[in-house]
Amino acid sequence: MQQRAIDAVMRCIARYGVSKTTLDDVAREAGCARATLYRYFPNKSQLLRVAVASEVAALAGELEQIGAAAPTLDDAVVAVVTHASRRIVGHDALQFVLRCEPETLLPYLTFAAGDTFLAAAGDVVARSLLVHLPPERAARAGEWVARVAFAYLTPDGSPVDMTDERQVRELVRTFVRPGLPTEPVDPITR
């Protein structure tokens, strides 16, 4: 039921946006009775919170597998960034909101809230790099790689198509990888 509701709310948002989507729309889209849906999700915010958490967790799982399967750190960074970018760009509900109702999302992504968001995104990327880096280096690299991805995923286009593995590899090789410390942190100087 939860997954049906999550899929349904994302389809509704892709069509009408967040503000105009009602729980009734979601119930109809999920093919269930309103009463059933309301039992699981008494209000829209709760459903949204669960849906976002679920999508993020799914992506995090994918990235961890992708990072672990990559032969080198460079390969892991490239694969993780490319995959995450494709999922983000291809997420219809997210793209609708960013294009048509940015004011609903931007307060969660920028300035002080941006620090929290980067910490979470960085953590997801860090976990995907743990096979290739000591934990403290993975944490630092995670945030930086997340930053780079978002910096080039700007809505009005950027010189690098982050969904194109070849272009991402070039960017990572030239600018990102040289700046990622990889040796274990010396416990004496920590």
């Binding site: 004011e103 930053r147 978002f150």
Partner: protein, 199 residues
């Protein structure tokens, strides 16, 4: 259609900014701007036919221009590129933290400002990139840039990452000169400058 006299435009933008500082973006009206600038409604609408919406968009772009202009001035005397980036990052971070109007609007009405900031982001991005390229050219002439590096691409990378850090420092304490030094000489510039130029 005759374009607006730049001095008049400047006066109106200053007045609109003062109104935003006092009343906020939502509550500022064209009549407030009339009072503040002593310019008639008719003249204001001739300068900004899109009314308040257009005026708010232009005020945001204008203040961003002032912010990055001040930043450029603050770092103009830097001896080398790495120091320029370091000083720029420190200055810009403090300027954001201490920007009273920005901080107030972020708390009271972020949903009004943030879409405008993000759609206007290409302006500081082009400005910073354009500003950095000549400095990189100087470093290249002195053999301090990685061979074969595309300087426009490098300036674009540094500009994007600087804007990201200025908006949200994340794990970095940008008030700590040791951390800023580390950040600039590693993540930001290790792919741009050769180790000798990183200091």
């Amino acid at each position: 259609m005759a374009s607006t006299d730049p001095a008049l435009r400047e006066r109106l933008l200053e007045a609109a900014y003062a109104c935003v500082a006092r009343f906020g973006m939502g509550k500022t009206t064209i009549d407030d701007v009339v009072k503040e600038s002593s310019v008639s409604r008719a003249t204001i609408y001739r300068a900004f036919p899109g009314g308040k919406d257009e005026l708010m968009r232009e005020v945001v772009a204008w203040e961003m221009g002032r912010f990055f202009g001040a930043l450029a001035e603050a770092v103009a005397g830097a001896p080398d590129f790495a120091t320029l980036v370091e000083e720029g990052l420190v200055f810009a971070h403090r300027a954001v933290v201490e920007h009273e109007v920005l901080q107030k609007v972020l708390v009271t009405e972020p949903e009004r400002l943030l879409p405008l900031l993000t759609t206007e982001t290409h302006r500081p991005l082009s400005f910073i990139t354009g500003y950095l390229v000549p400095f990189l050219e100087r470093e290249e002439r002195e053999g301090r840039v990685w061979p074969g590096l595309d300087l426009e691409q490098a300036a674009d990378y540094v500009a994007r990452m600087l804007l990201s850090l200025i908006g949200s420092p994340g794990q970095w304490d940008l008030d700590d000169p040791v951390q800023v030094h580390e950040l600039v000489r590693t993540e930001l510039l290790a792919g741009v400058l050769v180790p000798d130029a990183l200091g």
